[in-house]
């Protein structure tokens, strides 16, 4: 799967379901967790979304800015598990 095919639905999910602003563009290198854009509750939701959508497991210990903080890093994590 191409990176864009992974990034696009995640960006759409973050903008629509988490930020409640579907028009909001999520930049590939924009800090999502360390900036406070995604809080701890929605981070779990994002993990569940990724697991459902791409069939990869994101551990509870990986839901933090050290493991992934940007869309690019999350895409890389998903690709490494596929």
């Amino acid at each position: 799967m191409m990176d864009e095919a992974i990034a696009a639905p995640i960006a759409e999910y973050i903008a629509g379901a988490i930020l409640k602003n579907p028009k909001r563009a999520i930049k590939p290198d924009e800090p999502l967790i360390s900036s406070g854009l995604i809080d701890s509750f929605h981070l779990v939701d994002l993990g569940l979304f990724v697991e459902d959508k791409f069939g990869v497991r994101i551990d509870d210990s990986e839901l933090n800015a050290d493991t992934f903080d940007t869309l690019n890093q999350l895409v890389a994590l998903i690709r490494s598990r596929q």
């Binding site: 967790i33 701890s40 779990v44 993990g47 551990d59 509870d60 839901l63 933090n64």
Partner: protein, 474 residues
Amino acid sequence: MLATETSPPAATGRWVLDQAQARSIGLCVLSVLAVYALQPAMPIRQMDFWLPTASLVLTVVVWAATSSALATHRRPDRATLTDAALIGGITLGIAALRFAEPLSMLITRTPPPAVLSVLAALAIAALLAVAAGCIIGPRPAWTTALVIALVALLFVLKYEPLTQAFAALLRVAQGQSAAQASALDVRWLGFSYICFRWIAALRERALGRLPAMSLREFVTYAVFAPALIAGPIDRPERFLRDLRASFAFNWPDATEGVRRIAVGAFKKFVLADWLALLALNEVNAAQAQGAGWMWLLVYAYAWRIYLDFGGYTDMAIGVARIFGVRLPENFHRPYLKPNLTQFWSSWHMSLAQWFRTYYFNPLTRALRMRAWAVPTIIFVGQVTTMLLIGVWHGVTLNFALWGLWHGVGLFLHNRWADFAKGRLTAMQERPRLQVAISAAGVLLTFHFVALGWVWFALPDAALSLGVFRKLFGL
């Protein structure tokens, strides 16, 4: 990620150590010695030897229960026996210093117990480790039993009436009067932090994510000298990565380490200790007359606790850095955050992350699967997590109220953020307004946190309410 099936680097069979091996052994020896050397004296005889020994014994037991290699081969290999001999040898060596008084004072505050008693304790420790390895080792799900036992012990040490009963028990065991027992008799150095590292390893093992660690590596992780007193609480996998990385002493790391130590010492011993003279406590809370003075005491406490704890952390990170271990940061400008959610992503970060990983995230995931209403999940998750963080400091009403204060604060911020999200998008096109709102958020968040310290700093809820009344002129 370190593979869970990867064994630790095999012994080369040569008696020549490279710098990485020398550092690994040196850090283990240093950490085991620090467990004894940093333990303060207690009124109960020889407890400054027995409690550190108990820390090491429990560490070995947890290692045996979580070691995948031990569970597979059912017997310790040569490297494990060498590591056990090293750790047991240090303990025995410290006990043997009683024959070379006053040399024992270099390590323990009071003369250590008889060598025969220590030998018997080590034999019991070996039996416990074998039992843990045989019973729990092959059944990772059974690690939960050990987690429950450790949490129960932590509760005993955090809940004053139980700590006092425990002190009475120890006094009787040492032939002292139980009538004199006090909760202050049992000051188990670093237990809260070591215990959370044990639990992290046990949970990771239960979930099949714990990398294979040698006994020496695990002991170094659990009682790592720089982080023994006040954290940070590292994750096993991350710590192991640094410990196994090739190491050569280098000036940039050493210089940065020394800089962090100097900054930390200045924060702790100059700024925090000076602010301690002014910071809110039981005595000056009663003496302060006007609201202005009371606010000054609260501000001083807020900065003292940050500079004190932040200073300790800087020093721990600095010392570890010299040895090539990059401990996780614990603070990131917490008083400059525009909301409480971001404050808790930058205050005591390693503890908050521990609770997110092993409590909040699994709980939220489970409740999400049960399709509870979102606000209910957030309320339950935030409030119970913060209550637990509160009572981790001590099982008292005031620590619980401090946790509740932050839990409810986090929930309210979450609801406000959720409400504002869809409505305040126009604000993004007005940068000046955004800056003004952010500045107001920083001020509001700082004051919410500072007022929260009124619960934390005082031993009694009535005293805290009295301070609130004075602060607001009620």
